[in-house]
Symmetry: C2
Subunit: 217 residues, 2 copies
């Protein structure tokens, strides 16, 4: 079914895909991958199954694309909050965490879906999850001014582990809601400073960066 | 196909299930849930598909049972290493981490399967993963002598987040192997002490427990 006017048609396809992905975020947040059938998705979208397959060749493709969209949104939300060359690292960290927890609060089910997903060892979904962690690690290393040290394997592992800390505590916070958002954000930022301290015992140059008003030598 | 001698037959069923679960650990570590067919599992086990269904009603049941077995083994391995009433908390922590990393090293693929699993938001698999984290949190609170404070929501969240830290750094370590096992174990234990310190700023009674030779008042 190729169209005659590729540019116009192409735009239509992209727009429709975007709409379907928005819908996917809602659908997969409310029902699990396995229980949600292609029929149910097509019905919710008000289109035929055949047309749905035109946009996404399989349910898995559709699912992977929605997970990728959720990951992009989370990354963008925190990116916007931390775009500044003037603020000190710890201030940027607090802004980033605030934007992160905003996302968790507003899109709780989508966030849980993103992180609890995985679909076995599905390589594409793993790539999205690991890629999101990598992106956070890169950005943390840059925004916190870790400079060259931020490229070292130990610090990267510590930052990555901290992203895991943030993920697990956010998921627990979402489902249990036993402490305030402010206390959670403080726990996260203090744990980051602390784990970087622990890592810096093995790479001393970092220690300087951990005191709020220090500048990089 | 009910047997006439239920006791004997019952034993046989349990043994056969146990054998099949051992096989499952290998199979699911080597291939993803989706790509591994019931036919391939039955072939690998040397039994008919019908007989396999006799032990596990579905591929999902089989998979869930192998994930549960992997989780039990991980918990047991670390439990044995930390059964002592005499050693100080930090010594127990180091022993527990050493046993944990032994498991990660020896059963890398199984460990990765356990944690990267999830199968979407499959509730049973989630229950295993969350239950394993809960078990670690309970045990940490007890072995570290956090006593009554260890029941508080903030400390539990911090401990749970640290389990996430351990999971994510272990997975990265497995796939990248950029730092030594000893340095990883140190990073983990120092981060735990640090995150408990951070949490204790909000619940002061805990601070006492973090210095190696302190005793509980």
């Amino acid at each position: 079914m190729p169209g005659r006017a590729p540019n116009k048609r192409r735009l239509g396809v992209d727009e429709r895909r975007a709409e379907l992905l928005e819908l996917g975020l809602e659908l997969f947040a409310a029902a699990s991958y396995e229980t949600l059938s292609i029929d149910a998705i097509a019905r919710a979208a008000g289109i035929s199954k055949g047309l749905l397959y035109h946009y996404f060749p399989s349910k898995r493709d559709y699912y992977t694309a929605t997970v990728r969209l959720a990951a992009d949104r989370l990354l963008n939300a925190t990116l916007e909050a931390t775009e500044s060359d003037e603020l000190p690292p710890l201030e940027l960290l607090q802004r980033g965490l605030s934007a992160y927890l905003d996302f968790v609060e507003r899109h709780g089910q989508t966030y849980a879906t993103l992180l609890r997903t995985g679909i076995g060892t599905d390589p594409e979904i793993l790539t999205v999850i690991e890629g999101t962690r990598d992106a956070f690690v890169d950005r943390l290393a840059e925004r916190l001014g870790l400079g060259h040290e931020g490229q070292g394997p130990l610090l990267r592992l510590a930052l990555r582990g901290w992203v895991g800390f943030v993920e697990v505590t956010s998921l627990s916070w979402l489902s249990e809601n036993t402490i305030s958002r402010e206390v959670l954000a403080e726990l996260m930022s203090e744990t980051l400073v602390a784990t970087l301290s622990a890592a810096s015992l093995k790479s001393p140059q970092v220690t300087d960066l951990l005191t709020p008003d220090s500048s990089i030598e």
